[in-house]
């Protein structure tokens, strides 16, 4: 390795360009071989050139790194790389001394495959989920009747047409503002983010539909790009995501407020059926009229009832008084007869008592009263043999003489 020599100028040490470049190159040469991930852009491969050149671009902030690889090695990989593809490059930093150009000298390149993409997506998904970006409580309800609907779509006809046709068929008064963007490839993610922001600047837009028809896994990748997912999550208005087919779940679906299985479903979600809205209004109005009529009828009835009671009140008083007089007269009429009856009853009662007390009652039961001329005979000693006595019976009597005692 050539030594880097400086020229002394008085108290100053000065390097030639060649020496400086050589020095930096040597220093860089001590760095380890590493893997670098990025998107391939500006790929230049020419049969006359010994090396293939491309720029590796950081998809997040656009940082660039020149990469070179020997053409033979590059061709041997049979990667058929196209601009925008994500790759892992294994290489070491290198300074081309002649031009003072810094590059990564690639030893091998691996396409960032579906498996790697999936793993990266899973990591991103876990990270964003941990941040709460997909949380259910973040989801906002869609407006019942949007003033203007923002639509982010590719210029491919199908998805855009499906959304627009559905919206206009269901709800002809709907206003839609369409932002066409790339929906696949390396520029798509940034363009989608820009489109979302531009639509949000229209203050009448109160819901946004983000849609794209079906496509390959790679085609749909921009819809899982962290920038797009964050833009959807932080969008000023609710976002309906209808990307790919039912089985695809790009991360923007998780961040959106509502996920629609198809562009047509998204159209149905953002506007109501006009006839249903009108029917609801008419029903409300009919109910309004009916309830007011009922309230009126109820009050009229209550009023009529009160009037009837008012009118009846004097008549009721007269009736009540006349009834009272009638009753008094009846009692008056019955009074003398009652008095006679009471007296008769008292008399009967007295007679009854008298009869119970008289001896006749006893004689009727077979007893007799025996008397001498002077007294009632109560004891055998009151009489002597030969004395005449009078015997009184219940029916008549007879005289008798006492034979012995």
């Amino acid at each position: 390795m050539a030594k880097v020599e400086a020229l002394p100028y008085d108290d100053r040490t000065v390097y030639s360009v060649a020496a400086f470049n050589r020095g930096v190159a040597q220093w860089l040469g001590r760095l380890p071989t590493v893997w670098v991930e990025g998107e391939v852009t500006e790929l230049r491969r020419h049969e006359r050139w010994a090396s293939v050149f491309f720029t590796l671009k950081d998809p997040i902030d656009g940082s660039c790194l020149g990469v070179t690889m020997l053409r033979g090695q590059f061709d041997g990989l049979r990667l058929e790389l196209a601009d925008g593809e994500r790759v892992h490059v294994y290489g070491r930093p290198h300074l081309f001394e002649q031009r003072g150009e810094f590059r990564l000298r690639a030893l091998t390149i691996e396409r960032f495959g579906v498996g790697a993409h999936l793993a990266a997506l899973e990591r991103l998904k876990a990270r964003l989920a941990a941040e709460g970006l997909f949380a259910a409580e973040r989801k906002r309800p869609l407006p019942l009747l949007p003033r203007r609907i923002g639509l982010v779509t590719g210029n491919d006809a199908a998805a855009k047409r499906d959304v627009l046709t559905t919206i206009q068929t269901r709800f002809p008064p709907a206003n839609v503002l369409v932002a066409e963007t790339y929906v696949q490839g390396p520029r798509a993610a940034l363009e989608i983010v820009d489109a979302l922001r531009a639509l949000c600047e229209d203050e009448d837009v109160d819901v946004i539909v983000l849609t794209r028809g079906g496509g390959s896994f790679e085609d749909l990748l921009p819809f899982s790009d962290e920038r797009v997912v964050r833009a959807v999550a932080s969008c000023r208005v609710p976002v309906v995501s209808a990307v790919g087919h039912e089985q695809d779940t790009p991360l923007c679906d998780l961040a959106a407020d509502v996920r629609a299985s198809t562009p047509t479903a998204a159209g149905r979600l953002v506007v109501p059926e006009l006839s249903v809205v009108v029917a609801g209004l008419d029903r409300a109005r009919a109910s309004l009229a009916r309830t007011v009529r009922l309230a009126l009828a109820r009050d009229a009835q209550a009023l009529a009832h009160t009037r009837d009671r008012l009118r009846a009140a004097p008549r009721l008083a007269v009736e009540r008084e006349s009834r009272r007089v009638e009753q008094a007269r009846d009692r008056l009429r019955r009074a003398p007869a009652l008095a006679v009856e009471r007296k008769r009853a008292a008399l009967e009662s007295a007679a009854g008592k008298l009869r119970v007390l008289s001896p006749l009652k006893t004689l009727e039961r077979g007893y007799a009263i025996v008397r001498t001329e002077s007294q009632l005979v109560r004891s055998a000693s009151d009489v002597a043999p030969g004395v005449r006595v009078e015997v009184a019976l219940a029916e008549g009597g007879f005289g008798a003489r006492v034979e012995d005692t």
């Binding site: 019942l144 503002l177 309004l288």
Partner: protein
């Protein structure tokens, strides 16, 4: 009462009024006032729906037109 600003507001208020009337607790004067208000809201909502057909605009074209 202020005029409704949006269709949604008007529709929600109309529903409230109907519910209120259906419960039958409003006095007669109140019921009549609510009815009047309800009819107004209905007319507002219908007018919004019957208003000019909706339109589809392209954002890019709109941005171009906005340029001086």
């Amino acid at each position: 009462m202020a005029d409704p600003e949006t269709f949604e507001e008007a529709q929600a208020e109309l529903e409230q009024i109907v519910t209120r009337l259906e419960q039958g607790q409003a006095s007669l004067d109140e019921a009549l006032a609510l009815w009047e208000r309800g009819e107004k809201l209905y007319a507002f909502c219908r007018a919004k729906l019957d208003a000019a057909q909706g339109k589809v605009e392209e954002l890019a074209r709109r941005v171009e037109q906005a340029r001086p």
